[in-house]
Symmetry: C2
Subunit: 203 residues, 2 copies
């Protein structure tokens, strides 16, 4: 069925949010770990994560408007560091629970039952249960003026990954660590590899 | 295994690109359709696509540096419109082939065997074979100065989706249209739903 802009605009708020969120396709499913200047750790679920480039190793994520999702962004701006931790298929509910609106002085690590892990004196807490996780240094927060969201750009400064999941050419078979995939606001998926294809050349 | 920034920096270029690309997790797998001012259609594969917000309905994607991926961005800037079309699990190789460096006067629709579809006089061509696709109007091209990539923001102005895949609350079960998922530079995956979870509340 064809949905026009007028029809989209007339949909109920939640129906519209589900349609638009699903439309852009499958996404990463990760927990971002931070720590405030006051020393309170924070953990929140994010799915809009993109690869920006490998050299320097830059990864971006979308943070919702400040009033909707304040703590992660505030901590990153104040301290400059954060961790991104893959969510596993066998603890999705626990990860999803971090999206509840906990007060600023509550750590979602405690509230949702995650163990903090500190690696090599890196400032921000990692999720111990995640097999694949990486430490990030803030590069730039780009405000998106059209809807008050933020595109947060960071540099990968540390990676933890099971050695046996890295193929000969550096590809990481993240599905073997049970890393899951997300769709829309609240859908969680398991992914199964179909194929890897060689570099495409003009025939 | 722990990989330090020094170790990352010392990896071979391709090995490093694979590691960093896989690390950020599963992504959308889509073809972006455009048409140049001269009337040449263009089709290119993109995976770094994010949901920015539902009202207005904004979706962003990452375009590599201009010299690496010139045509899609040039056409969008010149004409203001583009289409995003889901890639199906049964024609991944054909979609991947659009990443070859075709000359500006060659249409990847022709070169890779895709049929163009024009819907309701929308300027940019859709991919006829895609069950789920949407028409986009350019809102802003944000240059990322750290690596010369671009974050391209557009508004959804038209949606085509099989009615039977939309659930009662607007969620689209895109896996039922065989929409695939991508990982890293060249990995393609099939996704299977595990669960949708209710809105999380503080317990």
């Amino acid at each position: 069925m064809l949905i026009s802009l007028d029809e989209l605009n007339n949909y109920d708020r939640f129906y519209r949010a589900n349609i638009i969120n699903s439309l852009s396709g499958f996404k990463s499913a990760s927990l971002i770990g931070t720590k405030s200047e006051a020393g309170v750790s924070n953990l929140a679920i994010f799915s809009n994560i993109v690869h920006l480039g490998a050299d320097p190793a830059l990864i971006g994520f979308v943070n919702r408007p400040r009033e909707a999702a304040p703590h992660t962004l505030k901590n990153i701006e104040a301290t400059g560091f954060y961790t991104i931790n893959h969510i596993h298929t066998d603890w999705i509910e626990q990860a999803h629970q971090t999206s509840a609106k906990y007060a600023e002085d509550v750590s979602e690590f405690d509230a949702c039952g995650f163990e903090e892990e500190y690696i090599n004196n890196f400032f921000a807490p990692f999720v111990k249960a995640s097999a694949i996780k990486y430490g990030m240094k803030l590069i730039e927060v780009v405000p998106i003026k059209h809807n008050n969201t933020f595109f947060v750009i960071g540099e990968v400064v540390m990676v933890e990954v099971p050695k046996e999941l890295i193929t000969e050419d550096g590809f990481i078979e993240i599905e073997k660590a049970n890393s899951c995939c997300s769709l829309g606001i609240d859908g969680y998926y398991k992914a199964e590899k179909i194929v890897r294809l060689p570099y495409a050349k003009v025939k």
